[in-house]
């Protein structure tokens, strides 16, 4: 890691016209912050995004190529050319795309522009996970007990596992994606598991080097938001919990983490802050931890050197506008001069966010494309919607299918969840299938209400499929369409409004509604059936 003085170059400078190297809701979010600061925003767009909301929100926008991200949003030269053409003096990368690309950060700085992100060295230095663990240890931040396997004799393995503590995870040192990883609960199965893992690692990664790591049962994903100015002032903005994940994709995020005591919260937030300080960080970043709810310990996982998707929950409980602060830090301003940081940080209430995706949980979360024929986002007190889509917009196949983040704040966790449930019920999206039914189901589960969740919860509850379209909570599923059916209002209104006919329900695979209509039944429910050329999502 480099020293703080090296970090000044390029990460502070003029910020009067900001090129936003992203799309969708995050581009719109950054454009908003630019307006608050009174500086201009420059959008970029691919051919698929020519009419997109972020283009409509930016002061000016520049086309950067074809729909495929690899030919537009991911091409540094095109972004830099757009900056030149628009006269931008600063670049905000958003999240994803080029946000954690060290070469791009360097290229932005070399072009004489202000990089609204961490020093490139911090991006590069934190990519290698073992390096990051060494930094954590140097900062006094706990890491999960782990050990490289050098003595492969039975006695050597058993001793190593004993030091790490069961259950252990046998992991290939090279490679990733969980391949070759094995959980071992007791000494009896250790030797065989190590032998198997070596074979798999050798075949997949041409190296049979392994290490053992403490396996954390019912682990909770807790991450600390940090922000630092270019003058060495590093602060934390409390923590978020993102344990409700599906295949490492976060679905529900909240702040703070309900599982932590006050002293545990103070300890984990200080760990995050200390790690960022150790690497001379500048800007907004997130330090991720696993929290072991049995041992009541936290272990460093990694640092994300960018703004995160779930930053709004932190903004709502900390009162810090993270994106605005990023822009101010890039102008060289001190955190201490900003109102939100003038006094010691106060945690206020609770915030919960869900990600609304154009995907069909009932068909194994297949991404959906289509035109948003009708969109009604929720409004009301303490509800926030960050979206890249309005009514009439097309949802294409080229990018992440996230339509919006819906966030609610409450004086406590229960109130925040109540508000979020109400907001999701108010949400109308016609034109593409969404995961709204699943989100509503998740939020109303007793385990979620009780905050008894972990990173494996969603998988255990739903497996590979989730509640889909037309399986709303409280649906008794009595009989097919009609006046005594579960959705009589829809049936009657649909018929009366004269939208042709006959129509049949083509909902998701887990609807409880009764199928089996008579052949002449014009309006009926057809749960769990996919049919015909018009069937299936586009």
């Amino acid at each position: 890691m480099s020293t703080a003085t090296q970090h000044q170059a390029g990460v502070t400078g003029p910020v009067t016209r900001v090129l936003i190297a992203n799309r969708g809701e995050i581009a719109a979010r950054v454009a908003r912050a630019c307006k608050v600061l009174g500086v201009e925003s420059v959008g970029v767009y691919s051919e698929a995004d020519a009419d997109a909301r972020h283009v409509r929100m930016c002061d000016v926008a520049v086309p950067i190529g074809p729909a495929a991200a690899a030919e537009s949003y991911l091409v540094p030269e095109r972004i830099l050319e757009a900056a030149r053409r628009s006269g931008a003096d600063a670049v905000h990368p958003g999240y994803g795309f080029l946000s954690e690309n060290m070469a791009f950060a360097r290229a932005v700085i070399d072009a004489g522009l202000t990089w609204i992100g961490p020093p490139p060295a911090a991006i590069g230095g934190l990519e290698g996970k073992t390096d990051a663990k060494a930094v954590a240890e140097a900062a006094g931040v706990p890491v999960a007990p782990a050990e490289r396997l050098t003595d492969l004799s039975e006695a050597g393995l058993l001793a190593a596992a004993q030091r790490v503590g069961y259950p252990v995870l046998v992991k290939p040192e090279h490679g990733g994606g969980g391949k070759g990883m094995q959980r071992v609960d007791a000494p009896e199965t250790l030797v065989a598991a190590v032998a198997a893992a070596r074979r798999i690692a050798k075949a997949a990664f041409s190296s049979d080097a392994l290490f053992l790591e403490r396996y954390v049962e019912r682990a909770r994903h807790v991450e600390v938001q940090v922000i630092a100015d270019a003058h060495g002032d590093v602060r934390h903005c409390f923590e978020r919990e993102c344990s409700l994940q599906r295949r490492h994709q976060k679905v529900v995020e909240e702040a703070p983490c309900a599982a932590l005591s006050e002293s545990e919260r103070a300890a984990i937030c200080e760990s995050g802050r200390a790690f960022a300080a150790q690497v001379g960080y500048v800007g907004a970043g997130t330090v991720e931890f696993l929290f072991d709810p049995v041992r009541r310990e936290h272990y460093f996982l990694e640092m994300n050197t960018r703004l995160q998707v779930e930053h709004p929950v932190t903004e709502l409980v900390s009162g810090v506008d993270l994106v605005l602060t990023q822009l101010r830090v890039a102008r060289g301003e001190r955190l201490a001069e900003q109102p939100a940081f003038a006094s010691a940080g106060q945690l206020r209430g609770h915030a919960v966010e869900v990600r609304v995706y154009a995907e069909d949980p009932a068909s194994g979360y297949m991404p959906q494309v289509g035109t948003l024929a009708r969109v009604q986002w929720p409004t009301g007190p303490f509800v926030r919607v960050d979206t890249g889509y309005d009514e009439g917009d097309a949802v294409g196949m080229h990018y992440d299918p996230m339509l919006a983040k819906v966030i609610a704040w409450g004086a406590d966790r229960g109130e925040a969840i109540d508000r979020l449930v109400a907001a999701l019920r108010e949400t109308v999206i016609h034109g593409v299938v969404t995961n709204l039914p699943m989100l509503l189901d998740v939020l109303q589960r007793p385990e979620v209400r009780a905050a008894e969740v972990d990173t494996g919860s969603l998988g255990r509850w739903y497996g590979d499929k989730g509640p889909g379209l037309d399986d709303g909570p409280g649906d008794e599923g009595t009989k097919s369409g009609g006046t005594s059916g579960p959705d009589a209002d829809a049936w009657v209104a649909l018929a009366a409004a004269g939208h042709g006919g006959p129509w049949a329900h083509g909902g998701g695979g887990v609807s409880t509604r009764d199928a089996g209509p008579a052949p002449s039944d014009p309006w009926t429910t057809l749960s769990g059936r996919r049919f015909g050329p018009a069937g299936g999502a586009a």
């Binding site: 004269g498 083509g506 309006w523 049919f531």
Partner: protein
């Protein structure tokens, strides 16, 4: 203009249009009956009033798909015959999925047809509904003519039985 529909449960629903954005609805059900009114608010939301209670219903038509949202959540509705087409085996006849007027008859008894050929077109609620041959075969009987009002489910064209293989 009055329209009438029946569903599997035997409910009969009668709709009378009151101008462009309002309708009267009457249901004679097997276990329910109702008198209601539907109107469309300027923002496109439908308001259904029955038993003195008004509830919002969101309806969006998108080609052959209709989306509805009520307090129950969002549902997607598809054209009914799309399901019949794929779910059915090699049927021996075609029938209108709804009550309507026959506007086209393309075949006569004795004609050889291929699966997918449009045999009859029925119109209802200003929507034309092509009825296609479910399989290859020979037309045995045509029991409708242009201009006929036909009920849903009644055979309009019958194909000769398939020869034993």
């Amino acid at each position: 203009m009055k329209r009438e529909f029946t569903n599997a449960a035997g409910d009969v629903l009668t709709v009378a249009a009151l101008g462009a954005d309002a309708w009267l609805v009457q249901v004679e059900g097997t276990d329910t009956s109702l008198d209601g009114a539907l109107r469309r608010a300027p923002d496109g939301t439908y308001l259904l009033t029955r038993d003195g209670l008004t509830r919002p219903v969101q309806i969006t038509r998108q080609g052959d798909t209709v989306w509805t949202t009520t307090a129950r959540g969002t549902a997607r509705w598809r054209r009914y015959e799309a399901r019949r087409g794929s779910a059915g085996g090699a049927a021996n006849s075609v029938s209108s999925p709804m009550t309507g007027k026959v506007v086209v008859v393309n075949v006569a008894a004795g004609d050889t047809v291929s699966a997918g050929d449009v045999l009859v077109v029925v119109e209802a609620m200003k929507m034309e509904q092509p009825l296609a041959a479910p399989r290859d075969g020979v037309v045995a009987k045509v029991s409708c003519a242009v201009g006929d009002l036909v009920d849903g489910g009644v055979d309009l064209v019958v194909l000769a039985p398939e020869e034993a293989a």
